[in-house]
Subunit: 468 residues, 2 copies
Amino acid sequence: MYQKMKAYIQEYHMLQEQDKVIAGVSGGPDSICLLFMLLRLKKEMKIEVRAVHVHHGIREGGADADEAYVREICRKWDVDLAVFHEDVPEYARRHKLTLEEAGRDVRRQCLEKAGDAWGGAKIALAHHQDDNVETLLLNLSRGCGLKGLGGIPPAEGRYIRPLLPFRKQEIELYLKKREISYCTDETNQEEHYTRNRIRARVLPYLEKEVNDQAVRHMAQTIGEMRSLAAYVGQETERFFHLCVRKEAGGGLVIREEDYRKVPEALRSYVLHEALCRAAGKRKDIEAVHVASLQELMGKQTGKKAHLPYRLEGVRCYEGIRIRKREEEETHSYREIPPVSLRVFDRTDPDIRFPDTPYTKWFDYDIIKSTVKIRHREAGDYLTINRSGNTQKLKQYFINEKIPREERDRIWLAADGQEILWIVGLRQNQKYQITDRTKRILEIEFYGGKEDDGKDQCNDPGRGSDTEN
Amino acid sequence: MYQKMKAYIQEYHMLQEQDKVIAGVSGGPDSICLLFMLLRLKKEMKIEVRAVHVHHGIREGGADADEAYVREICRKWDVDLAVFHEDVPEYARRHKLTLEEAGRDVRRQCLEKAGDAWGGAKIALAHHQDDNVETLLLNLSRGCGLKGLGGIPPAEGRYIRPLLPFRKQEIELYLKKREISYCTDETNQEEHYTRNRIRARVLPYLEKEVNDQAVRHMAQTIGEMRSLAAYVGQETERFFHLCVRKEAGGGLVIREEDYRKVPEALRSYVLHEALCRAAGKRKDIEAVHVASLQELMGKQTGKKAHLPYRLEGVRCYEGIRIRKREEEETHSYREIPPVSLRVFDRTDPDIRFPDTPYTKWFDYDIIKSTVKIRHREAGDYLTINRSGNTQKLKQYFINEKIPREERDRIWLAADGQEILWIVGLRQNQKYQITDRTKRILEIEFYGGKEDDGKDQCNDPGRGSDTEN
């Protein structure tokens, strides 16, 4: 296993002589094995190794014992250790994140802080093959393209993952043989988190019922896709430069003539790249936005497509121009959403069900990304009944005969592309409070009361907002 | 749904005016919907439609009722129907297939026969989005590359699948709204088949626990991968012609100089293509064979790699030569394996446990592909204990100190790359008969008795063949 790790480190150029590496050590088997292996490597290669442990501030679940164990083993193995004491639950509350997300953010911040303080050291994480395959299934379920099929990156900036080619059971066996003990991460045992549920249910099921090498096979596919994604990335870059022209002011023009020369399979990647460059961000740029640009290429000059980050695509003589949305400027006073958000426990005795059309409750734990208050975008949809049927927002507007010019001004509470609430008009049925709801997201919208009579929030004639 | 199907048919150029189409109609919701939609299309487009029903010869499970229903609906909808009566269980026995595999083969044969008799008509199958996503998960679990990620082909030769973009529930809803009844396919309800288990367990779990649009998201990824696979296929073809030279006698030479110009991510595809061309077949050419060629490129002139279909790779000055294995000719009398195979039920009262080292029993239902009797190939391995640990066949030979020249002559019973039995030497632990075994594969090897004393089968000193 050690030899295989060395070969893997070399394959992805993870470490060189003189490198400094910080190992993130929770005390669980994976990170203990990682630290052990890095220390073994240190004897062979001229690298320096330190450990960082983050106490997440939740006393239940044995976090104190974990810290004590990590302190003990680092003393025994003679490795420098820095311990951070953080308050993950508080961080989660403040940033409206799940404990899992908050934990990951906080750990990353501590590791990077320690790395910066130690001359920009590399950071080694203990992700393994089971993690990687779980990520693949999560990505597939949540929707992903080629990049998501590549799973967890072995090396990404300063982060390296030397244990990625090993099964979890290989790691545990390796420690057992060497009589190295470790802490049992209780959060891993709980099926509370989606990832753990995939680990506990789906993967063993596939291994038992379909193919006993299922995890290894999927890991192999991940490797192939990672390599292919790198190639497609290069090709996309090449074709992007062939057909995209930058404009003054941050806009872009995709020239149709050259765009037609791009192989069909790469066109969506080129458009995606163009959108990311125009937005200056890669997050939240989805297949549906790329599709709306593709559609636009087939339309007449002057036609437009709404894009995220207040961008719009305009069909022009040359092809497609991507630029900041013009209307944003004229209506810019609207761009600060007149809204307040609050998350609280359903068991909180002080809560009272809101009885105004401007304050709504949603099941917080159903929300997948961070809720945004924004105007409409291509691809927006909502779930319209309990059976889970969905409707495009555009179709809703058409059915309700809402004038085109008004549609862009209507406020939406959005979870990615799914609309929780068309403010003043309709709520998404999926996010309704039920008996199973644990945490409630309250959105209070005070724009409706202050705004002029034409505002959508003050139009009670347009259908009831509460359907249940 | 009808409009979407029309668009889909157009997108994949499935049908043109004047086309003749045969719909395979089992009587279940999917195929009834397919027939209904094709008949609707017939009114709009100048196509001809006929139906074919295959009675699989198993009376239990309502096959007679299915046939009666299909006859009735075809009469009602005024469509020509041909009914085939086949004996699928007998076919399965004769070809050593599972009932599921046999059923598929027999149906295909009937449909093609009907299609040929009707002037080479196209054949429409009722696969839907759930089938497609199930296929993706099966492919991933069994090991697949880019091609497998593309799921079920929408159009493939004469076969077309117009319902591929629809969820199973959409199809059922469509029929319900129109009050069209259908038969319930009982084999679909049973969790007997792997595919049904994925349908019943894994997909609902992912939809419930991870993302309620999981199936749609995966279908989208399948679409992207299908398009990418087409592109990679073209690029592979281009680079194949750049660096492969055909030789007289069916061999190939991969020229190193040009091979180095192939983008890294495409090299394995180019080598795979070279192997397929040299073999004249695409089946059973695995990643492990490609990897052995890749390894060979880094070795000295004269080194060899064993390849399937009696091919070998030889490192030569120019690069790699792929050719028929030479030794095959000198030992060609060995190439008819002296063996007989038989499958029977464990409950058969006449069976007696074999007590010779030349007759062995294996759990037939564990076997994934078709058992082959052959000599060793790169990538062969076997499971050596009940915990599922595996060992490379090569390592086994090294450990057992079996001379190199003998290794190529030893007979193997192989399930893909996994060796069931190193004849006369060792059995794979995974395929052992247990209490749960339903069907037994008996391999009787009579070569050991007739051959000369040097044969591996007659060497009792080389460890016991039965370990339990």
